[in-house]
C-alpha cells in the first residue's frame, strides 16, 4: 500500500470544524453542503441501481414477460362480484373430504359436521358411536332401509348417491312386491324385506344400536330415526328390544335395557375424559357446559 500523502490529523480536522461552527454565518452554507451531499448520494444510488440492472440484465430477468391479465380482469357490474358471479345466485355447493373421518361432506354443512365428528358438539357421542358401530359390521346390512335420518343429511357425494341408488333399487323391489300383494298375498310385510324375522340375531343387535326400531302400527315399517327419536317412547323401544332380541341370551337382554347407553360407548369422543354415563347426563346441557369451559380457558393462556 502506498502512503497516503494528504492525510490530515484528527486534531486538524477538529480545529477546522470548530473554526467553522464558531461563525454563525457558516451555518447556512454548511446546511446546504450537507443537504446537497445527501441529495447527490441518494440520486447516485438510484442511478447505480438502474445502471446495474440494465448492464447485468437483472432488470430484464426480473421483468420477464408480463402475464396476460385479460382473464383476471375485475368485473365491474352491480349484479356481479369481482369474479363475475351473480350476487343473487347461490354458489354451487362443493364437497370436501372431512380431515377427521375422511368421508365426503357437503361444504356448506361442514362445520356442524366437524363439530359432531370431532366429538365437540351436542350430537357428537351419538354420531361417533354410530360410526364405530358401522365400522364394525358390513355396511350393507340395513342399507335396504329407506333412510330418513336427518342427522345424516350432511353425508353426501358418492355415499349419498350410492344410497340413492340403493333406495331406487329398493323402491323397484317394493313395486314388484306391491304387484305380488295385489295378487292376493295381503298378509306379506311391505317392509322391503327388512323385518326382524329375516335378520340374524347379530344383525338385529347392530341395527338396534343405531335406530329406534319400533315397528309402526300403520305402516308396519321399522322406525329408522335415532335411538332417542321423539316419536316413540323409551317404553316402546324397550318393549321392542325385549321382544325382538331373544330374551334367553343375557347379552341381548342387557342390550335391550341399556340401548340408550350403548349408543354412547366410552371411547366415542377423542378428548373426553368423562365416563359415558356422566356424558349422558350432560347431554342436555351441552351448550352451557362448553360456555363454562370457555370462561376457564382464556385464549392467551395457551400461548406458551
Amino acid at each position: 500500500m502506498n502512503t497516503i500523502v494528504s492525510e490530515l490529523s484528527m486534531n486538524d480536522l477538529n480545529s477546522k470544524f470548530f473554526d467553522i461552527i464558531q461563525n454563525e454565518n457558516n451555518a447556512e452554507d454548511a446546511a446546504n453542503f450537507i443537504f446537497d451531499s445527501v441529495c447527490e448520494d441518494v440520486t447516485l444510488g438510484v442511478l447505480f441501481e438502474v445502471h446495474h440492472g440494465i448492464k447485468t440484465g437483472l432488470t430484464e430477468l426480473l421483468e420477464g414477460e408480463k402475464e396476460d391479465e385479460e382473464q383476471f380482469k375485475i368485473v365491474n357490474s352491480p349484479e356481479c362480484d369481482v369474479f363475475g358471479f351473480s350476487i343473487l345466485k347461490k354458489t354451487p355447493d362443493a364437497n370436501c373430504s372431512c380431515p377427521n373421518c375422511e368421508r365426503p361432506v357437503s361444504a356448506t354443512r361442514f362445520a356442524p359436521h366437524l363439530e359432531k365428528c370431532m366429538g365437540m358438539g351436542r350430537n357428537s357421542s351419538r354420531i361417533a358411536s354410530r360410526r364405530i358401530a358401522s365400522n364394525s359390521r358390513e355396511p350393507t346390512s340395513y342399507a335396504g332401509l329407506p333412510s330418513d335420518d336427518e342427522d345424516d343429511a350432511d353425508w353426501s357425494g358418492t355415499l349419498h348417491s350410492e344410497r340413492r341408488k340403493r333406495r331406487m333399487k329398493s323402491s323397484n323391489k317394493r313395486n314388484s312386491k306391491i304387484h305380488k300383494s295385489n295378487n292376493g298375498n295381503h298378509n306379506s310385510e311391505n317392509n322391503d324385506g327388512a323385518t326382524y324375522e329375516t335378520m340374524s340375531a347379530n344383525e338385529k343387535k347392530n341395527l338396534l344400536l343405531q335406530i329406534c326400531g319400533v315397528v309402526s302400527e300403520h305402516t308396519k315399517k321399522l322406525c329408522t330415526r335415532s335411538t332417542r327419536c321423539p316419536q316413540h317412547s323409551e317404553e316402546q323401544r324397550r318393549a321392542l328390544r325385549n321382544n325382538v332380541l331373544e330374551p334367553s341370551t343375557p347379552e341381548s337382554q342387557s342390550m335391550g335395557l341399556t340401548a340408550d347407553d350403548a349408543g354412547s360407548p366410552p371411547d366415542s369422543s377423542p378428548s373426553s375424559s368423562c365416563s359415558s354415563s356422566s356424558r349422558k347426563r350432560d347431554r342436555h346441557r351441552a351448550v352451557p357446559r362448553t360456555k363454562n369451559k370457555r370462561e376457564k380457558l382464556s385464549p392467551l393462556n395457551g400461548r406458551d
Binding site: M1, N2, I4, V5, S6, E7, L8, S9, M10, E40, D41, G45, F48, E49, H51, H52, K55, T56, L58, L61, E63, G64, E65, E67, E69, F72, K73, I74, N76, D81, V82, F83, F85, I87, T91, A94, S97, C98, P99, N100, V105, A107, T108, R109, F110, A111, P112, L114, E115, M118, M120, G121, V287, T290, R294, L297, P299, L300, G302, R303
Partner: protein, 486 residues
C-alpha cells in the same frame, strides 16, 4: 444475467486477487471500524485539488484519491491504472471499457462490508436491492411469465365458502391473507417446514392458502382443513356454535405462533425469552403497566406482550378517543389497595397502561358484545376510525413526557415514525344471536374490497370508514430494517 465484471477486471483479479478492492472498500467506502472512519475522515480529499468532491474515487491499483471532475481520469491515463472505485457505493469503473462494471464477487464483498459497518455503528443495515443467486437466476430464466398484483385484476382475491356459520373464520382469514408483511413472508416461501406435507402444520396450511389466493382461480375456497386444524389445536373453541371472530383471531394467532416452531430456521432464533417467529414479529407489542403509589409516588412497572387491544366503546366517539381513555391514568380507589413495595403497606394507587413497543400490525377489538350475568347485548355505538393513525400519543415514552409536562425535550421519540394505515375491518351485522360477519380488506393502496363469504365486491374507503367496525387492523406505514448480523 451477466455480473462477472469485464476482461480487464478479470486480469487484475488474476494478478492481485480481490483483496485490494476489499481493503479500499472496508476503509473508504463502508468504514467497518472506528479506525477506518478516522482514515476516511482525514484522508478522503482529492490528491490533485484537495477538494472532497465531486464524487471521489480511489485508484484500485495504488489507492490514489481523486475527484471525478477530471483528476481521477488524469491519474488513470498517466499511470495506466485503469480501474478505480467510486467511494460512495463501491462500484468499479473500468477506463478501458469506459463504464462502471459489476462483478458478483466484489458485490458480495461490498454487501458484507456494509453489514459490518452497520454493526460497528450500531445502526440498522441500509436497504440493498435483492440479487438472485445462481439457482434463482436459472428459475427466472426458465419461468419468464410474471404475475403482477394490480388494482384491476382479481389476483390475490378469493371468495371463501361458508361451511355452515363460519363467516367468523372467513373474515379472519381474509384479514390475514391481506396483511402486507405476512403476504411478503408467505409469497417469499419463507416457511420451510420440518413436518413437510404432514397436513398437521397450520403455517403450512396458510402458506397453501396464499398460493390459492394468488393462483388466479375464481371459485370460492373451502377452508375445511384450516378449520379442522384450528379446532384440533385450540379445543377451547369447542365447536361452531361459538362464533366470535375476535376469539377466533387470537386462537389462530396462537396456533400459528406455536406451529412456527415447525420451521427449520425458527427453532434457534429464540432470544431473551422473546419468540422471534413471524407471528410475533408482526403481531406482538408490549403493553406497559405503571402502578403509582399515591403515598410515596413509587412506580411499579410491568411489561406484558399483547396481540390486540380491546377497547370499551361506550362513551368516546372515535378510535383515538378510545385509545386516549385506554392509556389514561386511572385511580384504583380505596377498595382496590395494592401493596406498595416501597411503603411496605397497602396503599391507594393509580394505574396507567401505555404502549411500550408497537407491533407491526396493530389490532383493535371494539368491545361491542357485553356479557354479564343478567344480559348479553350488543353495543352498536358509532365509533369513527381513521384511515391513517399516528400511535405516538399512546406510547409509554410520549405519555410520560406529556404527564410530566416537559415535552420540550423528548429526543427518544423524535425520529420515530409511528404512523399506521388501516388495511382490514371486520364487521358484525345483526343481533347477538343471529349475526353475520363481513370484512373489508385493502388489496393495495386505495383498493378496497368487501368480503362476504364467497362474494367479493369492490368497496370505497368511505364505505369502509362508515362501517360500524368490530375488529380494526392497522399496518405500520414505514418499516425499519433490522440489523441482523450473524
Amino acid at each position: 444475467m451477466n455480473d462477472t465484471g469485464c476482461l480487464h477486471l478479470s486480469n487484475f483479479k488474476a494478478a492481485k486477487g480481490s483483496s485490494p478492492y476489499k481493503i479500499v472498500h472496508a476503509f473508504f467506502v463502508a468504514s467497518t471500524s472506528y479506525e477506518a472512519r478516522r482514515y476516511k475522515a482525514t484522508s478522503c480529499l482529492c490528491f490533485s485539488c484537495g477538494q472532497p468532491g465531486p464524487r471521489l474515487h480511489s485508484c484500485l491499483h495504488c489507492i490514489y484519491f481523486a475527484c471525478y471532475g477530471g483528476h481521477i481520469q488524469e491519474h488513470s491515463k498517466n499511470k495506466k491504472h485503469f480501474l478505480y472505485v467510486d467511494l460512495s457505493y463501491g462500484n468499479v469503473f473500468c477506463a478501458q471499457c469506459q463504464d462502471y462494471i459489476y462483478d458478483r464477487e466484489l458485490t458480495d464483498i461490498s454487501r458484507s462490508n456494509r453489514v459490518l459497518e452497520a454493526k460497528s455503528l450500531g445502526i440498522s443495515v441500509p436497504y440493498t436491492p435483492w440479487l438472485p443467486n445462481g439457482n434463482e437466476v436459472m428459475a427466472l430464466k426458465r419461468l419468464r411469465k410474471r404475475r403482477l398484483i394490480s388494482p384491476h385484476t382479481t389476483i390475490g382475491l378469493r371468495g371463501l365458502q361458508n361451511l355452515g356459520s363460519t363467516c367468523f373464520m372467513n373474515c379472519i382469514v381474509q384479514t390475514l391473507i391481506h396483511t402486507p408483511l405476512l403476504r411478503d413472508y408467505f409469497l417469499g416461501e419463507r416457511h420451510k417446514c420440518k413436518t413437510q406435507g404432514s397436513g398437521k402444520c397450520l403455517v403450512c396450511e396458510v402458506s397453501k392458502l396464499f398460493q390459492e389466493f394468488y393462483s388466479g382461480a375464481k371459485t370460492p375456497l373451502t377452508l375445511h382443513r384450516l378449520l379442522h386444524l384450528i379446532w384440533t389445536h385450540a379445543r377451547h373453541l369447542a365447536g361452531y356454535e361459538q362464533q366470535d371472530a375476535h376469539e377466533f383471531f387470537i386462537a389462530t394467532l396462537d396456533v400459528l405462533h406455536r406451529h412456527c416452531m415447525n420451521g427449520v430456521e425458527e427453532t434457534e432464533k429464540k432470544e431473551k425469552d422473546r419468540c422471534n417467529c413471524i407471528i410475533d414479529q408482526i403481531f406482538t407489542g408490549g403493553l406497559q403497566s405503571d402502578v403509582v403509589c399515591t403515598s410515596c409516588s413509587g412506580v411499579s412497572t410491568t411489561i406484558d406482550p399483547f396481540w390486540d387491544i380491546s377497547l370499551d366503546v361506550a362513551g368516546p366517539g372515535s378510535l383515538q378517543a378510545c385509545l386516549e381513555r385506554f392509556t389514561r391514568a386511572e385511580h384504583l380507589g380505596s377498595a382496590a389497595k395494592i401493596k406498595c413495595s416501597n411503603c411496605r403497606a397497602y396503599r391507594e394507587s393509580t394505574k396507567q397502561l401505555t404502549l411500550e413497543t408497537l407491533p407491526i400490525v396493530a389490532s383493535f377489538h371494539l368491545k361491542r358484545f357485553e356479557h354479564s350475568s343478567q344480559i348479553d347485548r350488543k353495543i352498536s355505538a358509532f365509533v369513527s376510525f381513521p384511515a391513517e393513525l399516528d400511535m405516538t400519543p399512546f406510547m409509554s415514552t410520549h405519555r410520560r413526557a406529556v404527564d410530566a409536562a416537559d415535552n420540550n425535550n423528548d429526543p427518544e421519540g423524535l425520529f420515530e415514525d409511528n404512523r399506521y394505515s388501516l388495511f382490514a375491518v371486520v364487521n358484525h351485522l345483526g343481533s347477538l344471536d343471529a349475526g353475520h360477519y363481513t370484512a373489508y380488506v385493502r388489496q393495495m393502496k386505495g383498493s378496497w374490497f368487501k368480503c362476504d363469504d364467497h362474494m367479493i365486491t369492490r368497496a370505497s374507503l368511505r364505505e369502509v370508514l362508515d362501517s360500524e367496525g368490530y375488529l380494526l387492523f392497522y399496518h405500520k406505514t414505514v418499516l425499519e430494517y433490522e440489523c441482523d448480523v450473524p
